[in-house]
Subunit: 277 residues, 2 copies
């Protein structure tokens, strides 16, 4: 990741803001997932590096903008000051814009050794998953339903779009890179859907049960802002039950299709259920 940022020097504030927002102790779930799927499909993982970096930059930008006072107004993320608290609000808006733009530069730069056809396909998938029909759409509806009760279909729209599509993207890109189609493709896409949903349910559970020290951000903020979550709609026990079911299903289909080779994806799914941050 550092390699991809080292050419950036000026203006200093924006470069420091970008680095601050990227190197902030994130779990790197999306890049790891992309590389794991490539490995599973016996494809050269180096071919996935630019895409892995680009997705992480888009994820980082989305957090920088989400934390802004006009949106979630968060002061801490992963135990550190949010970008606007550290650098100022105008700076954080521009840092987010710069990370998003830079993701597309990384994808289109000569470091990307894929064929131009595959690069264009990856850029298309990336802009769909992160745009108004994807992540931004989910974020928008999430904001609309603050202090307003959302029903389950609306909550599902928010989750599949706000987090789901960007979690599915690494799998989609790994499939494009390796040219995988058919049954393997279907199974991996279903796995991505299942862990994406599980990830969000776990997030809702952590907002109730988590600890600030581990989570590094405010606890109970969903309740304070009266946000509809799995927990508020279905209760804690039912949410945990669904979480377990999704992870179990995800692991089953991977095991069935890939056997022993799927063990890292199974570990990843288990991590999503067990994580404390």
């Amino acid at each position: 990741m550092r390699d991809y940022l080292k050419e950036l020097i000026y203006p200093k504030v924006i470069v420091e803001g970008m680095k601050y927002s990227i190197f902030n102790g994130g779990k790197r779930l999306r890049p790891v997932l992309l590389l794991m799927v490539l490995e599973l499909l016996e494809e050269d993982t180096n071919l996935g590096l630019p895409s892995a970096v680009a997705i992480e930059m888009i994820h980082a930008y989305s957090l920088v903008h989400d934390d802004l006072p006009a949106l979630d107004d968060d002061e801490y993320r992963r135990g550190k000051l949010t970008t606007h608290k550290k650098f100022g609000e105008a700076e954080a808006i521009l840092v987010g814009d710069a990370l998003l733009t830079y993701a597309f530069l990384v994808l289109s730069s000569k470091n990307n050794q894929l064929t131009s056809e595959k690069i264009v396909e990856i850029i298309k998938k990336t802009s769909i998953a992160s745009g108004s029909c994807g992540m931004i759409g989910g974020q928008m509806v999430d904001i609309e339903y603050e202090n307003k009760k959302a029903d389950l279909p609306t909550l599902q729209y928010i989750h599949t779009h706000k987090t789901g599509m960007l979690l599915k993207l690494p799998v989609e890109i790994a499939l494009i890179i390796s040219g995988t189609v058919g049954k393997k493709q279907d199974v991996l896409l279903e796995y991505a859907d299942l862990i994406g949903l599980a990830f969000q349910i776990k997030d809702d559970i952590l907002d109730v049960e988590g600890e600030f020290e581990k989570l590094g951000k405010k606890i109970g903020s969903d309740q304070i802002s009266d946000k509809s979550t799995y927990v508020s709609l279905l209760g804690l026990e039912q949410s945990k039950k669904i979480l377990n079911e999704k992870i179990k299903k995800a692991n089953e289909i991977i095991k069935k299709e890939f056997g022993e080779k799927g063990k890292y994806l199974i570990k990843l799914a288990d991590f999503i259920r067990e994580r404390e941050k």
Copy 2:
């Protein structure tokens, strides 16, 4: 432009915000420039449409974010409420993000009939011109120097990056599409640099001499925020002199290289000098 947005339906607020920000009476200078250069180079202008739309979306997003309270805090643009005044601040941040992301979708979608090699090259140029080494970099330094005297080199950095690079981009893209190199390329790139600088000097002049009715935004805002401009650094007369020189030079090199066929680019340069908004 409308064709490119018609597939977007949901979430409603974001789609309406995107349309509001795009169809706001802008001059469409960048798309027009791209199509004019293609015409001059005897290339099919249809091939330039996705790029023209993408550049205008990036331009629109940059205005939406620039107008935000944390940045320029503008209430009006082209005589209409700015996006955050109309839709809310969180919405405007997301609308800007969505426009930027959508630009890359337009470039990579199947409507773009260019070869994948050219599309990747265009996406690369676009992300450089609009990113932290381009437009966002200029915007960042501009903010740093608010209420602080900038010297001429700093002012030139701000101008070439904040406005110059996105005005040069249409010419660069037209050159890629048509595969133009050599003398014609050099002349067109120099023309782009000259009108880019002229455009910004004229902007500074209009901020002093313009009329709200025509300009549709606050007059004298540079002076109020004590911004360094060509006018504040060199005076009104000297600024007008430089403006005239740049336009004259731009027109001369076009005439010399392209003769009568260059007349539309000459008209465009004259328009930049004469414009009242």
